[in-house]
């Protein structure tokens, strides 16, 4: 504890900052005051630190010298039609090297999570669960031939959506963590795809919240979720290939 370190004979050192920030207890502050009264060096240091803090707090914000919006606009613009193309792994390898050092660091549990959610969702599981839960009795045809299934409870639908959210968040986090190691063009392409899909998902969710029984909105949301999973799946496939060394 900072407040207990102040002693009459020692210089205050780190306790100067604690003193300045009023983090010393009453006893520690009294000891510091006693020391400062007798030590010109510590008084001088304290005055200097006060100047530093005052200057830091008075710094003004200023914008960039050049307009950065154009670059942002490019990256958030609607993406080119799916599927995006990851650069061939061979193209990312230095010439003359048979094996490239793994560029990603997905953990096995993360890969397992991705694989599981892809297995569930790529077959139209979300659409099936959502349409079944929200529209029991509403005849519909699921995409990808998954088939309509009434009787699926709301709990199951929420479970699938939660699984989707969790898996997507996991994959996004890992991609974020590895973005510095990825080919910048690949990152931009993935981000552009995800940004457009995320906007569509957010919009569909809001609309569905206002009209929960709307089968079109349920299907639309499920489609957007599947699109996102497909994008993430392709990134995960590339990662998996590197992870396992498959060619």
């Amino acid at each position: 504890m900072t407040g207990t370190r102040v002693t009459g004979g020692d210089h205050l050192d780190q306790d100067l900052s604690a003193y300045l920030d009023d983090e010393l207890g009453a006893a520690g502050r009294a000891r510091a005051d006693a020391h400062l009264a007798a030590c010109a060096g510590c008084r001088d240091a304290l005055a200097g630190l006060r100047d530093v803090v005052a200057t830091a707090r008075s710094l003004e914000d200023r914008g960039p010298a050049t307009d950065l919006w154009r670059g942002i606009e490019r990256r958030i613009a609607p993406p080119p039609p799916l599927p995006f193309v990851l650069p061939p792994r061979a193209a990312r390898r230095p010439p003359g090297r048979l094996r490239v050092v793994r560029q990603f660091s997905f953990t096995l549990p993360q890969l397992a999570s991705a694989a599981a959610i892809v297995a569930v969702l790529s077959g139209g599981g979300v659409w099936w669960a959502m349409s079944g839960a929200r529209n029991a009795g509403v005849a519909a045809t699921a995409p990808d031939g998954a088939g309509a299934a009434g009787g699926m409870g709301a709990t199951a639908a929420e479970f699938e959506v939660r699984r989707y959210d969790a898996a997507a968040a996991d994959l996004e986090r890992v991609l974020d963590q590895n973005r510095g190691r990825l080919d910048p063009e690949t990152v931009r392409t993935v981000e552009a795809n995800l940004a457009a899909i995320d906007a569509a998902i957010a919009s569909a969710r809001r609309a569905l919240a206002a009209d929960p029984a709307n089968p079109y909105l349920s299907g639309h949301l499920a489609e957007q979720m599947q699109r996102k999973i497909r994008v993430l799946q392709r990134a995960a496939d590339a990662v998996t290939a590197d992870y396992t060394g498959a060619s």
Partner: protein, 192 residues
């Protein structure tokens, strides 16, 4: 939590960049895919985000880091619940972007960006540009951990507990790094 900085003048926002509904209206529009609304949010907040970027990752990487922060914000708008001001949410997101970028840069370089000796040389290089810029340049030259804590605590008003959570360190480490940074910056001011 809102972090206000006494004495700090907010970045001016051109009248044309403001929307009648303010941030809240533009956030809703942007979340629905309205890029023009998001541009207004960008115009309103880019000064603060870019200043954070300059201080945390340096001028060379500030533009790209700022763009990263806004692109990330665009992607995450759907998760913004309005529980805090949009600016607060954006700033916290930007802090995380900057911390990630710092970690990537440090990994690439395999060392701390600069040492105390280099810091001591900084003021002489930019003295003619005014104390504010001298001070900002010196911030960038601080050792990695000290800079992060100094910017977050003394410039941005975060508490040691918040910094400890953000950086994954103890609050004691945060306090020690803050003191180290302040002592180094004191040398800068003494030279000025």
């Amino acid at each position: 939590m809102e972090h206000s900085r006494p004495g700090v003048t907010p970045t001016s926002v051109p009248e044309s960049a403001r929307s009648p509904g303010g941030d809240a209206g533009d956030v809703a529009l942007a979340a629905a895919g309205d890029a023009a609304a998001f541009r207004r949010l960008y115009e309103a907040h880019v000064g603060r985000v870019h200043s954070l970027a300059r201080r945390m990752v340096g001028c060379d990487h500030a533009d790209e880091a700022t763009q990263d922060a806004f692109v990330r914000a665009w992607r995450k708008l759907g998760s913004f619940r309005g529980e805090s001001a949009f600016g607060t949410w954006l700033f916290r997101l930007a802090v995380n972007v900057m911390l990630t970028r710092r970690a990537q840069l440090a990994t690439r370089r395999g060392r701390e960006v600069v040492d105390d000796e280099l810091l001591a040389q900084q003021p002489d290089r930019v003295r003619s540009r005014g104390l504010g810029l001298d001070f900002e340049t010196a911030i960038v030259a601080l050792p990695e951990g000290a800079r992060q804590v100094f910017v977050l605590h003394d410039v941005e008003g975060y508490t040691h507990e918040e910094i400890a959570t953000l950086l994954g360190v103890t609050s004691g480490t945060s306090k020690a790094q803050l003191h180290r940074a302040r002592m180094l910056m004191r040398r800068v001011l003494a030279k000025g």
